[in-house]
Symmetry: C2
Subunit: 365 residues, 2 copies
Amino acid sequence: MTARNLLLLPGDGIGPEAMTEVRKIIAYMNEAQGAGFVTDEGLVGGSAYDAHGAAISEEDMAKALSADAVLFGAVGGPKWDDVPYEVRPEAGLLRLRKDLELFANLRPAICYPALANASSLKPELVEGLDILIVRELTGGVYFGEPKTITDLGNGQKRAIDTQVYDTYEIERISAVAFELARTRGNRVCSMEKRNVMKSGVLWNQVVTATHKEKFSDVKLDHMLADAGGMQLVRAPKQFDVIVTDNLFGDMLSDVAAMLTGSLGMLPSASLGAPDAKTGKRKALYEPVHGSAPDIAGTGVANPIAMIASFAMCLRYSFNMVAEADRLEKAIANVLDKGIRTGDIMAEGCRQVGTVEMGDAILAEF
Amino acid sequence: MTARNLLLLPGDGIGPEAMTEVRKIIAYMNEAQGAGFVTDEGLVGGSAYDAHGAAISEEDMAKALSADAVLFGAVGGPKWDDVPYEVRPEAGLLRLRKDLELFANLRPAICYPALANASSLKPELVEGLDILIVRELTGGVYFGEPKTITDLGNGQKRAIDTQVYDTYEIERISAVAFELARTRGNRVCSMEKRNVMKSGVLWNQVVTATHKEKFSDVKLDHMLADAGGMQLVRAPKQFDVIVTDNLFGDMLSDVAAMLTGSLGMLPSASLGAPDAKTGKRKALYEPVHGSAPDIAGTGVANPIAMIASFAMCLRYSFNMVAEADRLEKAIANVLDKGIRTGDIMAEGCRQVGTVEMGDAILAEF
Ligand SMILES: CC(C)[C@H](C(=O)O)[C@@H](O)C(=O)O
Ligand SMILES: CC(C)[C@H](C(=O)O)[C@@H](O)C(=O)O
């Protein structure tokens, strides 16, 4: 059997602690099931800057390009708040997304039943919530040129960012959304600001055309992105799959994640196009939460989002669907048993640290 | 005493019905208090398109430019979904904002105590909520050039929108935010995406410098806009004044509005710079809600946001602070009495239509 090559990029803050818990699961799968994972390691974000003066080294980029999948922890922290823009921690993540052409970012916003009360929303509005946000990840204002600050003299500067979308970029991300909808509730809601942005106009047209040509069995709605934000807060369960651009996706997926009350639990997958020959997609998996520098190193971080990201990796990179299901079930079981890290602690539950949480999930797996 | 010149632009959908209720209040203030309001009327949005083939006529633009304040209802509806981009209903509103140089959009997100239960958030998280979002309104991606769709051939098109911010634009909007903070909780939180956008980098620098130079008595925080959206959902009461750019302001103010459970009640003010000689600011006042075409003409629309927008007009354009306070109090009293339109109906309350709601507020005023 061929090796399954994983690159682990733990990053900064709580990233390394969370990654340690995933390593245990990988080791177990290798030993008990002969899963054949071969792992390599690299640096990204502030830790890469400290070591190499760049947010990711060329060597680690090369490793990422040749791996079957990348597991990414988190980047950033106050220590690097003042490093130059080009080498700030986020630049490592953005370069990975761009160079690996990970155009499809899948962000499930699910509400673990055991945590419905942790949401700031009324429990009946989030119980059973299961949305998938499909965010375009390699285009839009994140990468468009010009992207500059110019000195105009007279104490004035001008900052420019450019939102650019081409037809093919919108086509391929909407195809991903429609395909995924077919495996779920069969509904897609596309969000843009066509009333203000030309990219919104094109987005709307291309999604509509793609739907008509290839996916007319899926129910398609359109919503203005600002109204979409409102509707997420008002009645999130109305949505199945949401497809949107890079910047709106950034905002909307964060709002959706927070709605669930399960922020520390939410994984994400960033996927490239299937290779024409092998059918393999480049992929990166990362928790939705950040590097949480305030609690880094104290052993209290919740490793569930990182472990759930590995479950997505099993599902999408290695087609190990049964294993992914089992790992997700193990997480749910541990929560049902009332085992909690501090961030999701509730009355009557038992509070544990990062390592114990990882052990508990492994024991259920 | 000099006349107070108001231009009423009721617009589309429920706009005209809501405006009718404001007219009653204006008439009462003229008769009972000799307030001296002189009103003119115009068309905007779809109704202007139907009459003139433009989202606002040159004549009505001229009226808007010479009025002391504009009261704006709402624009848009399915009827005009397919009109050309340049004359779509929203273009009328955008032109008013741009030509009147209304760079400061004030969006209070307050939770009326009587409506805390209408929020999708847990009542304890929104009771007493009182945030002011100060949104930049004449810059950013709304107006930056190029803003185009180009045919690349081969079935491919490219859409471009451009986010542009100059130092002076950020300076003046942050000054407004700091000044308003001084009249409230004395705290400003500035939101951008400096980790991804050059305009976010400049925004952050200019807000910081403006604070240091002139407003160091105000507490200033910075938050990434996506994290800001999360924090609004998690714990909205942590904020006092939020200052942000045009597009983030659009998203964040809609999310904040929906949090309150009082969407049908929320007003907004869009202000220009004070005239160097007269000190007068150009101004437009409009409800945060849209034109609600589904209920237009049925007499059930909630006129409170429109009436509350007129209260902001009294406060900011005419310095009629006592009258503004009284009108806002009248709204709160009517709600306390359990008088409700359908959108905010609750058990034990009395449901009324648009006209009755207007009458009830007038009676309390
Ligand atoms: C860290 C940052 C660059 C990133 C983004 O804006 O995409 C993050 O917010 C995310 O959503 O993954
Ligand atoms: C109608 C539309 C152009 C407008 C905007 O995007 O600014 C609206 O959403 C708003 O927030 O006032």
